[in-house]
Amino acid sequence: MPINILMPALSPTMEKGNLARWLKKVGDKVKAGDVLAEIETDKATMEVEAIDDGVLAKIVVADGTADVPVNQLIGVIAGDGEDAKAISAGPSGGAASAPAPAAPAPAAENTNNGGHVVGNPQTPNARGDEDPFPLKNGARVFSSPLARRMAKDANLDLTKIAGSGPHGRVVERDVKAALSGGGGAKAAPAPAAGRAPAPAMSDDATKKLFAAGSYEEIPHDGMRKTIARRLADAASSIPHFYLTVDCEIDTLLAAREAINNAAPKGADKQPAYKISVNDFVVKALAVALQRVPAANVTWTEGAMLKHKHSDISVAVAIPDGLITPIVRNAETKGLAAIASEMKDFAARAKARKLKPEEYQGGVSAVSNLGMFGMKHFTAVINPPQSSILSVGAGEQRVVVKKGQPTVATVMTATLSCDHRAIDGALGAQLLSAFKGLIENPMGMLV
């Protein structure tokens, strides 16, 4: 396995630092403990040491790069017996190297009639007459107007060019270097001018791996692009960790049956409501967040937003995508109200008729794949939310109680947490409160 070298945090509060210089060159042998590079912050200069033996295969962030975020991939060490050249030439396998950034949805898609997914839409390019600013790992690539135009004229991908201007800005000389370097960034897998990382395989390179005619090519729609961009961004920028518990839901199932049976029937002989297990899950998570208010938070760079209400976003699969409408103030709503809200959301989501305010925001989320028989999975957090609960199928399992095997209906739930906002113990408190509520649903009533 190649070893990724990440930008270290030199202090608990450090968010970014400057990569002053590399003390090893690509191709140099390194031993564990060798100093690889020097990092400087406004307070100190520190050394990055190799944690394993190998060969420095790739430098991703060049000497003198300022403001490199903590945990960004800065280089790669090839382990013993690995081909350093293959690593340096091939697509980057680094955690920080997200797939090729998707272009933001064109302005026309930013209207209310659909195409919106997973949170905030990209602000449309106001000028509309030039390429929007390209994104790299979800962040804007700073570039000069001249560099952008030259790259566009030469059909170069600006995100694949390493910037040498202030704060890594891509400037004219970088584009020129890329051009003279044989068009490295030009839809080819090789890194531009031998310096830039290749964040992902180019489209052409990917297609070459499959026989022509053996696939159908379906261009991305706005929703697909937004999903790709937002989740690639979230997965690479949010430090995720996962907590899993098994919840016995026999009591819940019995209560659900009783409640549904008690539903009054309307004129059309249909019951007034039909509560699903998922509605219980939404309610339980909402109440749990009220009981563990420290976890009912949103991370911002400047402060923690501690919420008063529990806004729970619920992932709804729709053809060719998904969308996450939000049950606002869910802790204040009865199960029937949640059920009817979800029914309305689901119908309008399929018709792509949800309004942006109905799917933007939220503090936590529920993603339930139980209906597909999934036992356990780990969902990606959708900013600005700080957690998401992945809910598996309720299934009969043998559980041991007081030394005796018995059968119970068990549902596995996994909480993905944003470590910047929620630490391990706090996440555990939240999930344990959730478990308590889901196993004794009467607790939600008080």
Binding site: E130, P145, L146, R149, D153, P166
Partner: protein, 480 residues
């Protein structure tokens, strides 16, 4: 012997003192050696005092044309050479004191005397032998004296001095350099200015405004030879309108000194000869680097045409030895020296500064009309292989210019037709030295014509002409 310095700078001109302050900011123990005047030529005998003189010239010009503004001045407006010089010296003295204050504030040691680099890491300072230019500011208090000083890094920032043409050596009486020209005891009746670069043309402009009969002699076919030909032509027309006599493609072959005048024998490129008699001759044929008596030869420091050879970060071929500013080569401008010095010490600190792009160093000349430029002239852009788009906007089309009573001038922009890169900007007219920086920022940020067109310029200002010039290059100009 004192404790070793991290950085020792020889010369406290704009390059040297700015470098010293930046070095001190970076935490280096810093010293600066000066033999004569803090602030160097720029502040004491160059940029600053001449601006004071030219301000007097400007006001003189307005005072001579009060009717143009509906005013009447009763009685005669006259120039008092002594008072004008006194004001100019006062401006220098104030700033000279300011440099001393800044160095002290930043805990930079000032060593008074003449420096020789005895070996790598060591400088011997001896009492100043050079006779001072008068009037001289007092030696600042608290300076260190002659002795041997150690430093890890030595930066040569000794600047430049007037070039001397053989046979036309300045004598300080009849043949002046900028030193004497800056402190005239009285205004001569007539004057020849040899050389039409920034220094020559500024003095020509000043003395003309003071009523002196001035003839400018330039060996090249164009006055202000580094400027765009079109701009130089507009400037020349205006100079001649103001009464300046200008001879181009002409060289001074011989100068004969009389009791209180000089006789210049000149010859044009077609062999035509003339004799011009004038009370004074100003020799303004460029400057040469001060590379002598520093011990550079002994250390084997590489030089080229009178200047120290350096790399992008001011390093000479000798480790531990650096040079910045005029002594390190053209363009010999204070702002180039300052920037070079900052890059030099930031690099020593390991900060990875970006090398300077010399094409983006603006140049300003404060004659009447002013001239300012940055980047490639149209001719140089074409010579470099660019297909250019050129925009022009005349002052006559600008509301503010008309209101100011300054209808003469031109803003010219040169773009790469292929990429929209701004290759150069060239301006002549009122206040253009204050306008040029807008284009310098644009070039530094690599803006294209589109970004400049999208920029809103305030009305009514002269800066609107910058916008219109860009629009003109792309056929979108409004006010012509």
């Amino acid at each position: 012997m004192t404790t070793p310095y991290d950085i020792l700078i020889i010369g406290s001109g704009p390059g040297g003192y700015v470098t010293a302050i930046r070095a001190a900011q970076l935490g280096f123990k810093t010293a600066i050696v000066e033999r004569e005047h803090l602030g160097g030529i720029c502040l004491n005998w160059g940029c600053i005092p001449t601006k004071a003189l030219l301000r007097s010239a400007e006001i003189m010009h307005y005072a001579q044309h009060p009717d143009a503004y509906g005013l009447k001045i009763e009685g005669k407006v006259s120039a008092d050479a002594a008072a004008i010089v006194k004001r100019s010296r006062g401006v220098s003295a104030q700033l000279n004191g300011g440099v001393g204050f800044l160095l002290k504030k930043n805990k930079v040691d000032v060593i008074w005397g003449e420096a020789t680099i005895t070996k790598v890491g060591e400088v011997a300072v001896a009492a100043t032998k050079k006779p001072p230019m008068l009037p001289q500011n007092p030696v600042p208090k608290g300076v260190l004296g002659a002795g041997t000083y150690q430093a890890k890094h030595i930066i040569v920032a000794t600047g430049a001095r007037p070039r001397v043409l053989p046979g036309i050596e300045p004598d300080g009486k009849l043949i002046w350099t900028y030193f004497e020209a800056m402190v005239p005891p009285a205004f001569p009746k007539s004057m020849v200015v040899m050389g039409s670069g920034a220094i020559g043309i500024e003095f020509a402009s000043f003395y003309k405004a003071m009523g002196v009969d001035v003839t400018v002699i330039e060996v090249l076919p164009q006055i202000m030879p580094v400027e765009d030909a079109e701009i130089a032509a507009v400037a020349r027309k205006r100079f001649e309108k103001l009464g300046l006599k200008i001879m181009t493609s002409t060289k001074v072959t011989k100068v004969e000194k009389g009791a209180n005048d000089v006789t210049c024998h000149v010859e044009d490129d077609k062999g035509g000869k003339q004799v011009i008699k004038a009370e004074r001759l100003i020799s303004a044929v460029g400057v040469v680097g001060n590379i002598e008596n520093l011990g550079l030869e002994k250390l084997g420091v590489k030089t080229d045409r009178g200047c120290v050879v350096i790399d992008d970060f001011g390093r000479t071929n000798v480790p531990g030895l650096y040079a910045i500013g005029d002594v390190a080569g053209p363009p010999m401008l204070a702002h180039k020296a300052e920037h070079e010095g900052v890059i030099c010490v930031e690099n020593i600190k390991g900060l990875h500064p970006h090398p300077m792009d010399k094409l983006m160093i603006p140049g300003c000349t404060y004659c009447n009309p002013q001239v300012a430029s940055v980047g490639l002239t149209e001719a140089k852009a074409k010579a470099a292989g660019y297909t250019v788009k050129v925009g022009r906007f005349p002052f006559i089309g600008n509301g503010k210019a008309i209101a100011l009573g300054e209808p003469d001038g031109l803003v010219k922009t040169v773009f790469d037709a292929k990429t929209g890169k701004l290759l150069g900007a060239h301006l002549v007219g009122a206040e253009v030295t204050e306008l040029i920086q807008g284009f310098v920022i644009a070039m530094n940020l690599e803006t294209t014509e589109e970004d400049l067109m999208h920029t809103v310029f305030p009305h009514p200002t002269l800066s609107e002409m910058m916008h219109e010039s860009v629009l003109d290059a792309y056929g979108k100009v409004i006010h012509t």
